[in-house]
């Protein structure tokens, strides 16, 4: 990332953030810079420090060390100024379940000191905007997951915050709920809001984020656009799906690919490897399979997924079998 970004264009600056829980280091010198009006994805597995980062940025936790600024205000010394300019959508709905959607929004509006009348008007606007205007007196506990998420998002937007933090916003939502949240995020960004989004779903970061920081063990281990990160693993890959999983071993030995870089997924009868020359690799593989009499169901060239990027960045020192996101990837020995 270029160091030349002007300060005025920076919405969030994190330098050397540390946070410990007892002996456990949740953040271990994390650095981050998020440009104004951009969507920044923070990607990492469970326990990488993503939620700790969001809780610190939204003033719920105090960092042990580090310099953090949000829209030009020091997070620790000027937390009230920061609080007026941020919205938070955490992993769990931050709503009063016993009250109705309207009661919730009016209450939060009053607590933002909008005044009773303005809070009422604002609640009405937001209910309308998020398709919740007809929920009446129904308590939030009776809402569907998607409705709750929308109300939660509405509550985060009462003051039209400059920065919105989304902590795994679509975890636990069905595909429709997920699409709704994504649409809402895109429209916010269209209106100039800066969004910092944590996710375990690589697809989500890929879909929404302008830039992505890959976080592991409390620090950023890679940073860039989705394409830049994908380029890190060495460009394109070839996927070969065999008819018979028993022939995977033979195929790895046989194919004109660097055996050490081939990953094998027995469940899907799949082997996958990076390639440099796309066409040469494709024809070489097809020819080799034919000659050896190994039947393939599919052979395809593709760009690497962020899963592979993540494994590439973190995987080597942790054994061959690791779960990341929704995919199980086994590294060949």
């Amino acid at each position: 990332m270029s160091k030349g970004v002007a300060v005025a264009d920076t919405a969030i600056t994190v330098e050397g953030a540390h946070k410990k829980y007892g002996d456990k280091k949740a953040l271990d010198g994390l650095d981050l810079r998020v440009g104004r009006g951009t969507v920044h994805g923070v990607l990492g597995p469970n326990g990488a420090g993503k939620t700790t980062l969001v809780r610190i940025l939204s003033t719920l936790l105090r960092p042990d060390a580090g310099r953090i600024e949000v829209v030009g205000h020091d997070l620790v010394t000027r937390s009230q100024e920061v609080r007026f300019r941020i919205g938070l959508l955490g992993q769990h709905a931050a709503l009063d379940e016993e009250l109705s959607g309207r009661q919730n929004l009016e209450m939060f509006g009053r607590l933002y000191h909008l005044g009773a009348r303005h809070a009422r008007v604002r609640a009405g606007e937001l209910l309308e905007r998020f398709g919740l205007a007809d929920t009446g007196r129904k308590p939030v506990s009776a809402y569907s997951g998607g409705m709750r998420r929308r109300l939660d998002l509405a509550a985060s937007l009462i003051t039209d915050p400059e920065v919105l933090f989304l902590d795994e916003p679509t975890t636990g939502l069905d595909p429709r709920g997920r699409a709704e949240v994504w649409a809402a995020v895109r429209s916010l960004v269209g209106a100039g809001t800066t969004v910092l989004l944590t996710t375990q779903y690589l697809e989500e970061a890929d879909q929404l984020a302008d830039r992505i920081s890959v976080v592991d063990r409390g620090r950023v281990i890679a940073d860039g656009t989705a394409d830049e990160l994908k380029a890190l693993t060495g460009g394109d890959r070839i996927d070969v799906v065999l008819r018979d999983a028993g022939q995977l071993g033979a195929a790895v030995a046989l194919l004109p690919l660097a055996a050490s870089q081939v990953s094998v997924d027995a469940d899907r009868r799949l082997l996958s490897a990076p390639v440099t020359d796309r066409m040469a690799a494709l024809s070489g593989v097809v020819r080799a399979l034919e000659e050896a009499g190994i039947e393939a169901e599919d052979v395809a060239l593709r760009r690497p997924t962020l899963d592979e990027v993540f494994l590439h960045l973190t995987g080597d020192d942790r054994g061959g079998d690791q779960r990341v996101g929704d995919h199980r990837v086994k590294e060949a020995a």
């Binding site: 939204s58 100024e81 931050a94 009250l99």
Partner: protein, 269 residues
């Protein structure tokens, strides 16, 4: 409505949380009142439960009890104190529930006076207790209890009872902050019974074995009950006990109020 008009309004909003401490506390109190409106049955059960205890002890258990000056006049002030003591578990339950829900994160990430979360809770609980006291006094009157200390005695007694409740409230908040889990609320809900009954609320210490009587007399709740009996001019009252009923709750507050506030601030650690 357009974003620009809204933004300008918010930009001129004040950040000063102290200036808004009262308004925010009132908003948080209103939140509790809205909960009551949503759960009228729960509210009524909360009010009826101590009444039920009073009637049970007054008629079922107390039938065979002899206290000089009349058992009902002895029992009613004791049950008033017990009702205040049992308020502890209600406070603890409510705070525990709040802490275990995401909504506390929203409150804490907003530019509101953070104290309002606890002050609003206190105000609502004190209001509930005042209503409960009124109901209990009404029922006590109906079953034949009479205050003999005049209006000032009545007001003084209610004041002492609410002071005691206020101390219980902050113990409840502190316990919720320490325990933090709904399972532990259950333990406290059970424990308030022996602690509540290890007092002079229902039986005179003289009627108990010596060591038990001593424990009972030291129970802060007994101090309040004795002082209230005195102010009502009924049996079991002792002159000069009012100071103990003022000092004990203040001591408890002196310990648990700062502890609870520290715990609350410590949420950001």
């Amino acid at each position: 409505m357009s974003t620009s008009t809204s933004t300008s309004t918010y930009a001129t909003s004040r950040y000063g949380t102290r200036a808004y401490a009262l308004t925010d506390s009132w908003t948080m109190t209103r939140r509790e009142l809205a909960h009551w409106a949503r759960q009228p049955v729960q509210v009524v059960v909360g009010l009826v439960f101590p009444v039920m205890l009073l009637l049970m002890f007054g008629y079922l258990v107390g039938g065979g009890r002899e206290v000089e000056g009349g058992y009902v006049d002895y029992l009613v002030p004791g049950m008033l104190a017990l009702t205040m003591a049992f308020g502890l578990e209600g406070t603890m339950l409510a705070v525990t529930q709040d802490l275990n829900k995401g909504v506390i994160d929203r409150f804490r990430s907003m530019p509101m006076a953070n104290s309002a979360v606890l002050v609003g809770r206190s105000a609502a609980d004190m209001l509930q207790s005042a209503v409960s006291l009124t109901v209990m006094i009404g029922v006590g009157y109906a079953i034949g209890w009479r205050p003999h200390g005049g209006v000032s005695g009545l007001l003084g007694a209610v004041g002492l009872l609410l002071l005691f409740r206020f101390a219980m409230l902050w113990i409840g908040i502190h316990l919720a902050m320490v325990a933090g889990k709904p399972e532990l609320v259950q333990a406290v809900q059970i424990l308030v019974w022996p602690v509540g009954f290890l007092s002079n609320a229902i039986a005179t210490p003289e009627s108990m074995p010596g060591w038990l009587g001593t424990v009972v007399e030291w129970n802060p709740m007994s101090q309040t009950a004795t002082a209230v009996r005195d102010l009502f001019g009924g049996p079991g009252g002792e002159r000069g006990h009012v100071w103990a009923a003022v000092v004990w709750p203040l001591v408890l507050l002196g310990v648990f109020f700062p502890l609870a506030v520290r715990r609350f601030r410590g949420l950001s650690k």
